[in-house]
């Protein structure tokens, strides 16, 4: 099978990967980079489990070709916390009971982090709209709204945390 060579920037590190031309961002982060926090729930763009940030915007990893994101900054759930310090959204999800089985959780968190970085004080409608592409079978969403509110409130009182990109350049190879 023909492979293409891509240079990707994921969570602040540079990677050089050889993949099929049809490989998606989800394929690359999970199977090549072993960043398994991003989940595959349908592989068809219907569940939102695979949401990652591409240049700060929430994108479905399963519908985005890896080749499309060359030169972009890709962020996955693994980069949401800082060291051991959870992001306010992560703490709020854990505290409010917004994660049950947890399988949808990384996708929701990435979607919400994109929302809050753009819209620090979203209206309930904006929240609903933002997460409308993410599916959760466990919670009925009620506790997610609570968690998002709580995190937004906390982030407003705390100085904004600019994602620090590590200057370290990691290069890894891999194939799929």
């Amino acid at each position: 099978m023909r492979k293409i060579l891509l240079r990707l920037r994921v969570n602040g590190a540079h990677h050089e990967v050889a993949v099929r031309p049809s490989a998606t961002v989800l394929d690359v982060v999970r199977d090549t980079l072993h960043l398994t926090g991003t989940k595959r729930g349908c592989d068809m763009g219907t569940c939102g489990c695979c949401t990652v940030l591409v240049d700060g915007r929430a994108r479905l990893g399963c519908l985005t070709l890896a080749a499309e994101v060359e030169g972009c900054e890709v962020r996955t759930i693994e980069s949401l916390r800082e060291g051991e310090q959870l992001h306010p959204l992560q703490s709020a999800f854990a505290e409010c009971g917004a994660a049950q089985c947890g399988f949808c959780t990384p996708g929701f968190l990435m979607t919400c982090s994109a929302l809050l970085s753009r819209t620090p004080t979203p209206t309930p409608e904006q929240v609903k709209d933002a997460i409308s592409g993410n599916l959760c079978r466990c919670t009925g969403y009620t506790k997610m709204y609570e968690a998002i509110d709580r995190a937004a409130a906390q982030m407003r009182t705390e100085p904004a945390r600019e994602p620090e990109l590590s200057s370290r350049e990691a290069v890894s190879g891999g194939s799929r």
Binding site: M1, R20, H34, T36, G37, T38, K39, R40, G41, C42, D43, M44, T46, C47, C49, T76, I77, E78, L80, R81, L86, L89, Q90, S91, F93, A94, E95, C96, G97, A99, Q100, C101, G102, F103, C104, T105, P106, L109, K128, I131, S132, G133, N134, L135, C136, R137, C138, T139, G140, Y141, T142, K143, M144, R176
Partner: protein
């Protein structure tokens, strides 16, 4: 009478809502689910399935085989070609007879995903005439008859007889993580890592399939992305497949379904047809209930007899009636077998009885609320099986609380005014509906005695470690069991650890199903904690271990002495305890698209004691969302015995946009034999929403008796209603 509830004592851990124990890993993305695991030399598995709903397998042929391809057929099975559960009728792989579409025939494994996908397999199948109509099927895998009093006497006392038929469709569990396992061949056996609810079910199945002793079949549950019953029995099948491939290839094999295969091949909620014939007096009291329940079991028995059992035991709803007859049958068809799904037969039968109650009120011209008040079970009343209910029977308090909270009476009046105008103007119609329901916790009848579940606590230098086979599938098992143990020991939660469910490490505490984990396993663990406390005396764990060496206390299920059940005649105490609930749902119907928008939900549920109020509310909210969608949206379209919409794009599970705000209230009428009074909570929330929705539609003027009431079905009714109004 059951024993009096223990006097409440002040609690310090139970009743609080700490973050769930594995919550940090889940939000950090470090929780490892089965597809996240890697093993050296890992192969990927693929399943080749039948294409006809009934027929014979004559043979198969395969195109170019890539190097390193492993193939397994029925001939490779070392033990019995059957999935051991209730009946050994379901083969692990088709040998000759095909009984449903998507039945597994061949297994392939290869290390490269693309190479595996490229293998072309052609099955030679000789189709035979399939039975796809459950009403026409004459093959029943189970019949149950419940009789109380004398039906003809009851009908003779009635002023009116009200009859009706109600149907429900398939429903897909749609756990967001699809089914998956990894099988690793060992020197003398196999280890399974899987997304599953019941490690010991899988072990039992593999022991028979592989002809190995239990100690050589090790089952480890890994973090599981939802189950809802769907990972109760099906994992035995997929684990069997992966194990066969692993043993044949000598390498670890990962088998993870994609969404479409999961929807096509795995079990769903049983479709039902329920008929009611009810005798009522003018004042609304029920004099006779004759109920006929028919479930579509699908092509193999799986758990259908037990689903039917729970279905008939809840078929009369939480209502008092002295003369009752309930006949239940589960019929075989050539569709993929149906199985466990949250509620397990009870949502189907309580949908029927609650919509029927609404129609009885209409027939008598009385307020449906009054009808329920008059007939709701009270302490001291008996159920259809003659079970006398104790002080924790809370149907009326649930009803009254839900009515108060939702301002049901005032809202109903306002909506009627609104609809009178909307009928003329063509604006959206509104409706408000209510449903009263109950749900037995734990296994049916003598089931818990037969299970004889065990749980254990191991003393650690800093506290205690829980050893149970009960699995965390999102509902909070780890956290609530730890709370129960910590509370009983008087220790902070941080001193309690939970072992992974691994059949090599933990005793068989029964399956994680039937709302039994908290009430049954939790109580066994509470007794373990009691024994541990006694053994420790005044010593600290460290002192004890230094002096006496390791300590593991194990306790077994202990039947409450007052509980008796006759499985032959279906008489007696069907369940240890019942939770009760009342849902009120308000909704709006779009006059153009016939789309129904639930606007507000009030759910009041008595669960005995909320060990962890936030997690308990989470169960209620999630179950309620699933229940609403069961009534309005989730339609499995079967075409020639095969799911035609096996994709998330055309099977409509509720998104944030479809899910209304919910107001949840938890009531606590403690059960004397549950830990700190707890009853079950997992399943009950899905019983009420579908009848509440349909009763709200009825309030808006739509006579619906079949669900899902998808827009195409509602549109016709809206049109004809408009026609009648103008």
């Amino acid at each position: 009478m059951p024993p009096r509830p223990r006097r409440p004592r002040p609690l310090s851990v139970v009743g609080t809502s700490p973050p769930r124990l594995e919550g940090a890993a889940k939000v950090a993305g470090t929780a490892r689910y089965v597809d996240d695991l890697e093993f050296p030399g890992l192969l990927l598995g693929r399943t080749i399935r039948s294409t006809v709903p009934r027929g014979e397998l004559l043979g198969w042929s395969m195109g170019r085989r890539p190097r390193g391809l492993h193939v397994v057929s029925a001939a490779d099975i070392p033990g019995r070609n059957a999935i051991a559960l209730l009946e050994p009728d379901q083969p692990c792989l088709v040998r000759r007879e095909i009984r449903h579409a998507a039945e597994p025939v061949l297994l392939l494994a290869h290390e490269d995903r693309d190479a595996l996908a490229s293998v072309a397999v052609e099955l030679r199948e000789r189709p035979r005439k399939a039975q796809l109509d459950v009403r026409a099927s004459r093959s029943f895998c189970k019949e149950i008859l419940i009789e109380k009093g004398n039906l003809s006497r009851g009908f003779a006392r009635a002023d009116r007889i009200v009859e009706g038929e109600y149907t429900t469709g398939h429903q897909e569990q749609l756990y967001v993580e699809t089914q998956g396992v990894i099988a690793v061949p060992e020197k003398d056996g196999v280890t399974i890592y899987g997304s599953l609810q019941c490690p010991y079910y899988v072990q039992k199945a593999l022991v028979e399939l592989l002809s190995l002793p239990p100690e050589r079949v090790r089952i480890i549950q890994v973090e599981t992305g939802g189950g809802f019953g769907g990972k109760e029995e099906y994992p035995s099948m997929i684990a069997g497949h992966a194990a066969l491939l692993a043993l044949k290839s000598g390498r670890p094999v990962k088998l993870v379904y994609d969404r479409s295969e999961d929807m096509l091949a795995t079990t769903k909620r049983h479709p039902s047809i329920v008929r009611h014939k009810t005798g009522v007096r003018r004042d609304g009291s029920l004099t006779a209930m004759q109920i006929d329940v028919l479930l579509d079991a699908g092509a193999y028995v799986t758990l259908s007899p037990v689903v039917l059992s729970r279905g008939v035991l809840h078929a009369a709803g939480p209502y008092r009636c002295e003369d009752v007859q309930i006949l239940g049958r589960a019929a075989m068809t050539n569709t993929p077998p149906n199985g466990a799904f949250r509620g397990f037969g009870a949502p189907q039968t309580q949908f029927a009885v609650e919509v029927h109650m609404e129609r009885i009120a209409e027939a008598l011209g009385i307020d449906p609320l009054e009808l329920r008040r008059r007939n709701a079970l009270r302490p001291g009343d008996t159920t259809a099986t003659g079970q006398r209910l104790g002080a924790d029977c809370s149907a009326l308090p649930c009803l009254e609380s839900a009515v108060r909270r939702s301002r049901f009476v005032a809202r109903r009046r306002a909506i009627e005014k609104h609809n009178a105008k909307a009928r003329v103007s063509g604006g959206p119609l509104r409706g408000i509906g209510l449903a009263l329901f109950f749900h037995g916790s734990g296994f049916t009848g003598a089931g818990e005695v037969k299970l004889a579940s065990r749980a254990a606590l191991e003393l650690t230098p800093t506290g205690a470690r829980i050893l149970v086979a009960s699995t965390e599938i999102g509902q909070g098992t780890r956290t609530i069991l730890s709370q129960i143990v910590a509370e009983e020991l008087g220790w902070p939660l941080s001193r309690i650890e939970v072992a992974d469910p691994d059949t090599r490490e933990v005793p068989d505490s029964g399956p994680t199903v039937a709302s039994r984990t908290c009430m049954i396993v939790g109580e066994i663990l509470r007794r373990c904690a009691q024994s541990l406390k006694r053994a420790l005396g005044r010593m600290t764990p460290r002192q004890y271990l230094a002096k006496n060496g390791p300590l593991v206390v194990t306790e077994q299920y202990d039947r409450p002495k007052s509980m008796h059940w006759d499985d032959v005649h279906y008489r007696g105490d069907a369940y240890g305890a019942y939770g009760y609930g009342c849902d009120v749902i308000e909704l709006e119907i779009d006059p153009v698209t016939a789309e129904v928008r639930p606007a507000e939900v009030t759910a009041v549920q008595d669960i005995g004691r909320a060990i962890h109020p936030v997690l308990a509310a989470g169960q209620i909210e999630g179950g309620t969302a699933q229940g609403i969608a069961f009534a309005l949206a989730e339609e499995v379209v079967m075409r020639d015995g095969r799911m035609a919409n096996a994709q998330l794009t055309n099977y409509a599970v509720p998104t944030p946009l479809d899910t209304p705000p919910m107001q949840v209230e938890i009531l606590e009428f403690p059960y004397g034999h549950g830990p700190f009074g707890a009853k079950g909570v997992g399943e009950m929330p899905i019983d009420g929403p579908s009848p509440a929705v349909v009763n709200a539609l009825r309030h808006a003027g739509l006579d619906i008796r079949d669900i899902p009431a998808v827009p195409e079905r509602i549109a016709g009714l809206v049109d004809s209603m408009r026609g009648a109004a103008t």
